[in-house]
Subunit: 343 residues, 2 copies
Amino acid sequence: MTAQPQPSARPTLEDVAARAGVSRATASRVLNASPRVSPEALEAVTNAVSELGYQPNSAARALVTRRSGAVAVVFSEPEPKIFDDPHFARLIRAAARALSEQDAQMVLMLVHSPQDQERAHRFLAGGHVDGALLFAPHRNDRLTGVVRKLHLPVVLGGRPWGSLRGLHLVDNDNEGGGFQATEHLKSLGRKRIVHVSGPADELSSTDRLDGWRRSVGADDAAVELMSESGGYTRQGGRNAMRTLLRRVPDLDAAFVGSDLMAEGALAALREAGRRVPQDVAVVGFDDHVTIAAHTDPPLTSIRQDIDSQVSHMVSHLIRLLRDEPVRAKREVLPTILVRRESA
Amino acid sequence: MTAQPQPSARPTLEDVAARAGVSRATASRVLNASPRVSPEALEAVTNAVSELGYQPNSAARALVTRRSGAVAVVFSEPEPKIFDDPHFARLIRAAARALSEQDAQMVLMLVHSPQDQERAHRFLAGGHVDGALLFAPHRNDRLTGVVRKLHLPVVLGGRPWGSLRGLHLVDNDNEGGGFQATEHLKSLGRKRIVHVSGPADELSSTDRLDGWRRSVGADDAAVELMSESGGYTRQGGRNAMRTLLRRVPDLDAAFVGSDLMAEGALAALREAGRRVPQDVAVVGFDDHVTIAAHTDPPLTSIRQDIDSQVSHMVSHLIRLLRDEPVRAKREVLPTILVRRESA
DNA sequence: GCTGTCTCCGAGAGCGCTTCCAAGCCGGTG
DNA sequence: CACCGGCTTGGAAGCGCTCTCGGAGACAGC
């Protein structure tokens, strides 16, 4: 029995090897599940590990493998939205789950200001993470361009403005969803279908608008008249619907670009004395659990499966990290109509 | 001119030192802002760093300093809530901001299941992070106890169940806020003040209840009669208010334990034909921007300053990490009443 | 009996950094 | 003139791990 040097110090691989009566190399092989190890050695090391409560030192491992085991999740958004929009909470939750299933640690970065962006750039360039998931929907966002040059595996959530060259992304079928929503309203016999759109500087919202436009066959003038932006907020949806009621008094249906805006739109319709769905049928977008099912009346909505989007992004990224062949650089996930009472 | 070995390879400290014409040791001193460096050496190294675009290798640094530069932010909560409650989005945002200001990277962990907890434990014990911010409000949560034994600097957000020994925490004055809310209702001349409380297994909600109780001077029977749990959800608030209207038909005021529940409570009052604030005055809790200001009528609420709570937690943790003396192990932040139209 | 092949193992180098230690240089002092 | 102390500097050790490389042993084939 040799005296324990310091019982408080964390055991190293050296200690494990000594206890198991093998070399450090063999102990390392066991930890990394190498096949070239005899059953006896494997057992001895396994026992030593659990007896000592050994935990590999991640910094040492990262130093030699040049892998950190961490993935950045970056949201490039003006501040207020990350507060308000339940969409973010869903994305964050989904990312946390998907990454922890892969035993990757999730480093969350919220980028609001140019300084934040500078910091994010330095951080991503600094080799602190092996890859990144990036959400940067806004038109004037510079981060996507910056990241593209970085030589770091990145998967985007949603289509970015500008060139797609060299980018991997997983998007939802916003255009198809918008089309689907509007076709559904047409199938109910509605003739004057207006659209409350999201911000014009996000492709998710212009894509939804395009889907509506394709379904109703609107020309530019009609688009000008029959749609109005509500900026992805409740209050915005309310204002937009008020405007539309003024401009198109005989409207009998509305496709609203998000559930949050739809909540506002419903309020505007209520205050105008229009009954939903009798006078005006309404379809939302997102199918957000805590909104769509609890509005009055419950909201028919287009579901985009956020969990699936994020888990596709993660598995795509993991393949990139492993240098495995990646099927497609660009995936578009389908959306489905969930019927409730508003349409 | 020597040939560049590999232009694509990241420069190391060795490269910087060579270019600056100093030793690696001196270059390191410059990077770590050591005072023992001549102005000439400082300038030469600084130039070399920017010319080469040098970025220190964080793994190598972590290996020798035994510091990762990362802080875990842990939420131990059943799944659904992290979706629904805007409170979480605020906490996450505040944490992201406060930590990035300290140049600490934020590793987000969402703990829902026992497996998650096991993984979190391993991770925190594994030396991947220098410290942690922990939010674990539920009574039966085991994580706080586990973390306490971990020898890892941790600051809790909110008071945990059980012993406080050895724990650092920053809490909001929930009891005081509940008292304040109820006193305000009394000052309006209200006599029958009921309470919609949050879940009984969170101290934030029982503290608010205690504040209400102290203000109205309720005995156990009165508490039984005049308060009802709404579980921190909109629907729960609605149901609880319906129940209270049945049990206490002559109620003329309500203190509701969160804005989300207050929204539901307002709906229940509306459907019962009670006017707010004429028939029933209502005070919420949280002063959540996107709720309180937009209910009908806008909600009087108790504001707890989440940004300040989290930044206190972070600076507390930073002091712990630096082995600086910490003023108090426990901080309780004040709450204030924000008057709008509901009371 | 000798060689070739296969499997498992250990010695040792080295990842990029910080930091201890000793050496060199300077001006001032006895 | 020898010596001392303060300042800056470079050499070198070492953080804990992975992985290459060659050696040792077992076994089959000639």
